[in-house]
Amino acid sequence: MHLPRLVVAIAAAALCAGGAAAQEQVETAKAKASMEPSFTSVTDQMLLDARKNEGNWVTYGRDYWNQRWSPLTQINTSNVGSLHMAWMYQTGISRLGSFETSPIVIDGVMYLTTPYNTAMAVNSRTGKEIWRYEHKQSIASPIFCCGPNNRGVAISEGTVFMATLDAHLVALDAKTGAVQWDVQVEDPEAGYSETMAPLIVGDKVIVGVSGGEYGIRGFVRAYNKSNGQPLWTAYTIFDKGWEGKFTTTTNEGEDLHRNIDAEKAGMAQYGDAWQRGGGGVWMTPSYDPTSHLLFFAVGNPSPDLDGSVRPGDNLCSDCIMAVDANDGSMKWYYQEVPHDVWDLDAVSPPVVVKLKDGTTAVAQAGKTAWVYVLNAATGKLIRKSAPFNRLENMFGQPTADGTRMLPGANGGSEWSTTAVNPTLGYMYVLGIEQPMHYITHSAPFEKGKLWLGSAFKAVPGERQYGTFSAVNLNTGKIAWQVETEQPMIGGAMATAGNLVFVGEGNGHFDALDARTGKKLWMFQAGAGCNAPPVTYMQDGKQYIAVACGGNFQMGYPLGDAVMVFALPGAAPKSPK
């Protein structure tokens, strides 16, 4: 009797062990499955609801309003000090530039781009690469201003869209990176290029062009996202009335020191200058689904610094423009600097905000170092903020010895994205304190001329630094400001955890208290963190991601790494 009982016992034990092993296999398979990306198809509704979607970052500015504000709170002021690196992805591409990509993250997949237009998908939990697409430039040497860069992709349904340095718009299969279609937006040999992340609105994919330094005529264009057919074009440079009213001051009354008589006399000769009038659109528009309006910033007139051959206000360079997303028709514009000869144009992407009194407004941080707050329905100025950088000899004329000017030709706020904390009503703005001499052409040329047309030179020996400011959009006052070692360029991201994240050229990636500006955490990335950070939630865990690959134009150390941070330990239980 003992023997059979022993056999039964052994058999039972074996069965249990086998069962446990099988159970373990099932668990392993489940865990593995949860590590696999799901390639969620991004619907129009998901884009419209992006603000409510806690886990994903589905469009360039996180939501259509471009606020770069996340409702996630797992990482907050009380625990951000223990943030650590979860994983790092290095592109391995040796040809570096300004690494300004703003990742898109959807249910386990992160989509990235590099300065020379390689797009890639990586597992957003592990950093493992899924696919990559290397765009072959259609000409050997595309012409673009200010260093090679790309700011990211747009995604809709199963397609990823990337605009390229050679002025193409490419549609890729989100699962494989295979090309679905590829169209030339404009002729790259005529100076057109693309650096912005496209925007999806309904059946359209929307892009603007850069090239205001090469005599282009700027525009924003909508394409059918299914096949790349152009649907409408909104020119930023007006063919009729580009001379405007020959205003002697800005809209807010600052003297522009213009010689109106000379400009009017030049109209006969230069009346057609609009044809090469510049007005690039560098950055992704914001969009208000209620009014169906797109809002975008328009760059400098062309030529950049020589106003004598382009008389008039040069509408609509240096403008914030609103166009109907359905047909591209213009609704309003607000020109920040008429007849700009200082390169103080509008480049930082506009943001839609709801003010305390209920007004829907568009806010934009100018290279002029003011934040402009405009009524989103009419374009009328509601307020202009206090300057977030020093102002000195604004709109002065050049002299042989050089007129010392602040902001210099880089701003103010350059291409940097702003972020908004809607609860506090603060906009977070990156600023550049870079005094420059504005000199006449009689000064001798020196090597190392600036990219913007040679007439501005940094003041030798003078300290350059950066600012990071919280601007109260309801009052226009600076709520707080911190100084940084170097001029700031890149972008900011705010969260409901009362945090704001921003990177610096010296490799610092910082988390600050959104209410006070107190620095709570910092990581040294080894290369400039000059891209806008993003955040997302996966498997109950919040991650912060940022590309740290430097900035070409500012000379910040280059690199190729995307760094992702999280709190230590397993994801906390969901408080259901």
Binding site: S141, E189, E213, V309, S454
Partner: protein
């Protein structure tokens, strides 16, 4: 290769000479000058349309001369009347044009260059060749 460069330069000078002669005939006060000598002072006096005309002529001439040089390398001999626009278009489509950018692109770069008065003695042709090389080397 050396041969094609020499040919190219000769062709450019023909085109520029024609441009300069045309301009000079409009302005009796101006002495006709060899196209290769036109410099920043001349450039500064041109209107945007004249700059575009100058550069369009330069680019077309360069394309024609390049076509001839390529034909010569292939053992064919083309006189100027045999250079067709379709041949130049083929070069352009094949991304082989030496001066491949639009006049507006070159104009913007030359404007920048001549902003500095101490650059103005430098012939436009030299500046164009230098700028083109810089853009291609980016």
């Amino acid at each position: 290769m050396q041969r094609s460069v020499v040919g190219l330069t000769g062709g450019l000078i023909c085109v520029l000479g024609a441009f300069a002669a045309g301009r000079s005939s409009q302005d009796a006060a101006m002495q006709p000058r060899h196209a290769a000598l036109l410099n920043g002072a001349d450039w500064a006096a041109y209107s945007p349309r004249e700059k575009e005309a100058y550069l369009s002529g330069f680019i077309a001439g360069a394309g024609a001369e390049q076509t001839r040089a390529f034909a010569a390398l292939a053992g064919d001999s083309l006189d100027s009347s045999a250079v067709s626009s379709s041949a130049i278009t083929r070069l352009r489509d094949g991304k082989q044009l030496r001066f491949s950018y639009a006049p507006s692109v070159y104009a913007a770069q030359i404007d920048d260059f001549y902003w500095w008065v101490d650059h103005r003695q430098r012939p436009i042709v030299d500046v164009l060749v230098t700028i083109n090389r810089q853009m291609k080397d980016r």
